[in-house]
């Protein structure tokens, strides 16, 4: 007669059932995404404060990020300044200025972003994100400038 070995798994199951809620409390689920900056770095563009971008402000759509706020080129009105709203940058104001630039350059998809050296990476990402599209109601988004060109510093150190 065959002998059936029976392993009692109840204790194992009990341990696992206790471990799972404990791990679920510790686990931190993240949704990772990527922002495409497939355009080249433009070494010819100087850091903020220089004149090259200002000279062609109406032909090139650009956002210069300074510690005080944004300077938006390509709006047809020089380089309007979008100041910080208190501690935070005014991304709604930036989208508004970029929407004006989009009216002037409807075919353009690129925006040159020139951050100052001390601007945190988070602000650069937020500007790239804000420049991609803007909400137009009913959950819809209107495209602005989804192809960012990040102008890197040309000099040393910083």
């Amino acid at each position: 007669m065959p002998v059936v070995a029976s392993v009692d798994l109840t204790a194992v199951l009990s341990v696992i059932v206790h471990l799972i809620p404990m791990l679920l409390l510790l686990v931190r689920f993240r949704q990772i995404a990527e922002l495409d900056a497939s355009a080249t770095v433009i070494p010819a563009l100087p850091a903020p404060g220089a004149v090259a971008l200002a000279d062609q402000a109406d032909r090139v759509v650009s956002v210069r990020i300074t510690a005080e706020g944004f300077l938006v080129g390509g709006t047809g009105a020089g380089e309007p300044f979008v100041p910080r709203a208190g501690e935070a940058y005014d991304y709604a104001g930036l989208r508004l200025a970029l929407a004006q630039a989009k009216e002037l350059h409807p075919q353009e998809r690129r925006v040159v972003i020139v951050p100052a050296g001390d601007v945190p990476y988070e602000v650069l990402v937020d500007v790239m994100d804000a420049a991609r599209s803007r909400p137009v109601g009913d959950g819809r988004e209107a495209e602005l400038f989804p192809v960012p060109l990040v102008a890197a510093p040309t000099g040393g150190g910083g």
Binding site: L13, I32, E34, D36, A37, V41, L124, R132, P153, T154
Partner: protein, 155 residues
Amino acid sequence: MSRVPTRRRRERRIGPASDLTITSMVDMFTMILTFLLNFVDPAMGDASPLSLPTARATAAPSEGVQVEISRDGIVVAGTLVAALSPDGRAVAAGVERSGAVLLPVAAALRGASPDLPVVLTADRDVPFVVIGEVLQSARAAGFERYRFVVDREVQ
């Protein structure tokens, strides 16, 4: 000498044992446990060395040459190639450079295929001067495409 009750006697006394097979349940729970052990953050959430910026981007992570910038330094494909200054506001003074190109970063990237994008994972507080120099170094190594890794904003 007391007699140990056999299984058959026990069954006779308390009725037929419920034949509940828990093997598949244990299998399932073991898989869940393995999954959770893989994905649980050993830093318990708060002390994570890298705090990514958040964006509305929806592009899925892609294949590329991984470059990570944390407060400790610049890591290319898993190897620390350049340190940051103690305050994390600039690349350390001892790192060899040519203009804005960081030579150790460019050298580390030269071994990878420039057809792939540079996938940049950086702490949200790293100043742009460091990011810009890494981008310049990547460009010097022949890379033209960059992807910035962000935490996807939950809407």
